[in-house]
Amino acid sequence: MKKNINLKKISLIVFFSFVCFLFIIPFYWMVVSSFKPSGEIFTSQLNLFPKEPILANYINLFKTPFVKWYLNSLIFAGGYVFLGLFLCSLAAFAFSKYDFKYKNIIFIVIVAAQMLPIHIQIIPLFIMLNKTSLVNTYTGLVLPMIANPMGLFFARQYMIGIEDDILNAARVDGASEWQIFYKIALPISRPMLAALAILFSIEAWNNLLWPLIVMRTEKMFTLTVGLSSLIGQYRPQYGLLMAGSFLAVLPIVLFFLKMQEHFISGLTAGSIKG
């Protein structure tokens, strides 16, 4: 019996080590390629290490507007998270803790709309942004995205659980409805807000299609659009692309390793039925 268990343990370790090895290859290759000259990335030899590691890709990367792209992505993610969370939790509070006319119908319409892909809105949005001169602006990038039905849905699921007694006690003490939201409901919802913030920031950080359409000049590109432009041009620059990719992935991975539990609860928020 004991032998049997040890065999199980060992075979599981072997199995997962092999799977993890396969999953790490792309990261390894990204880092290694970022230290290779462009000519060495596609060669007739398989170089597991760069022959002579070079920093040229990183140096050249900073000659592109890479830092600006980084900044733009941060602005996009920051604006999306901050405004999106505020809007979603404020509306979610109303939907979870008040009774008002048409409440359920409005809520169902909002959640049902989430099933339609953004591709339906993209062309009208592009025309609207053009007519209001919001193309190529941060406002145009962030504003159409923040009324996120999924965010509203998760915030509501969480806020339903807040005890009515706490809210009523504050009412008796003379707190206004706004104060009840801002001073009581929001602080209680901190775990939900953290989870949603992670979800929203990853979504903004990784999105390509939307910023590709809104941001039209190189200086306004987000990281994803900027990186994609490095191979979209006449002379693809894979070395730069790998260096940029590495620097773009790094903060998310470090952040993840530090706050693993929050990440996982944020990303699985959708799968657990409330």
Binding site: I13, A91, H119, I123, P124, L143, S176, L223, Y238
Partner: protein, 297 residues
């Protein structure tokens, strides 16, 4: 005035939902209606166009590119059902075993790809899928005796190439969904079944699978919706989505090209609407078929 409303329990909720509702109406409902309107027009640039009735829809169903895109999206979607449900499920079940050591590390390594932007994932795989014998994927295949494949050149391998990226990118997150589902199943149930003489496969089939059904439906729905929205990987792997012989042309790529390369905004809106309709109908059919609505009652 606002202060007065904020003290009124009847009126305050309206003020609370107002900003959300306003943006939702302007940027979601409005554009959807506008899109329907556009689909009846042949647009000339951004300003005005000619009313063409249902012509865009008629053209669409005779458009070989559109049909190709639907077929490609469907192939990809079915592919993700075959890889992105069983694989993460098996990983999750094995990780759940008490004999498994080092779970946290495995989970982290398998999960990190899910945090990687698809732009970056596709960029790296563009190098890994290099068609020479020294390409990484080809080298690995060589180890088990499979000859080098012309991954990004041969049209028939376009969708499998995208599927490979999808497997790397989504296995971890789906595995976490299943892991979360598994923590809800009590260990006693397995022990009781084991005492009754059920072997591992029987336990998996009679306990794990039925109890994980909601999570499986959830993941399948994500696969379905994601399958028809495929864009970034194709855009990156082939220069702005120009795959060989349109072997990986997808609805989203076709919509993007129609709108922003050919400026046929009316026709592109039609593509978007039909795409939305396909996703909506398939999702509802799938949820009905799997009995999702019954669970709710």
């Amino acid at each position: 005035m606002i202060r007065k409303i904020l003290n009124d329990k009847k009126k305050a909720p309206w003020l609370f939902i107002a900003p959300f509702l306003l943006l939702f109406t302007v940027f979601k409902v409005g554009p959807i209606l506008y899109s329907i309107f556009l689909s009846f027009y042949k647009m000339k640039g951004l300003n005005g166009g000619e009313f063409v009735g249902l012509n865009n829809y008629v053209d669409l169903f005779h458009d070989s590119n559109f049909i190709k895109a639907v077929v490609n999206n469907t192939k990809y979607m079915i592919g993700t059902m075959i890889t992105l449900i069983p694989l993460p499920l098996i990983f999750a079940v094995l990780l759940d075993s008490k004999h498994c050591k080092g779970k946290t590390i495995y989970k982290a390594i398998l999960f990190i790809p899910s945090l990687t932007s698809l732009v970056i994932a596709a960029a790296v795989f563009k190098i890994l899928l290099y068609e020479g014998e020294t390409g990484i994927v080809n080298s690995l295949l060589g180890l088990i005796g499979i000859p080098a494949q012309k991954w990004l050149i041969s049209p028939g391998l376009a969708i499998p190439a995208v599927l490979l990226i999808a497997t790397w990118r989504w296995t971890g997150i789906n595995m976490i969904y299943f892991t979360t589902g598994l923590t809800g199943i009590s260990k006693e149930m397995y022990e009781a079944a084991a005492i009754d003489g059920a072997n591992m496969l029987q336990r998996f089939y009679h306990i794990t699978l039925p109890l994980l059904k909601p999570v499986i439906i959830f993941v399948a729905t994500l696969n379905l919706i994601g399958g028809y929205q495929l864009f970034t990987e194709v855009y990156m792997l082939w220069n702005a989505g120009a795959s060989p012989d349109n072997g990986a042309l997808t609805l989203a790529v076709y919509l993007y090209k129609t709108a922003f390369s050919y400026f046929k905004l009316g026709y592109a809106s039609t593509i978007g609407l039909v795409m939305g309709l396909i996703i909506l109908i398939l999702t509802l059919v799938q949820l009905k078929f799997t009995g999702f609505f019954k669970d709710e009652v």
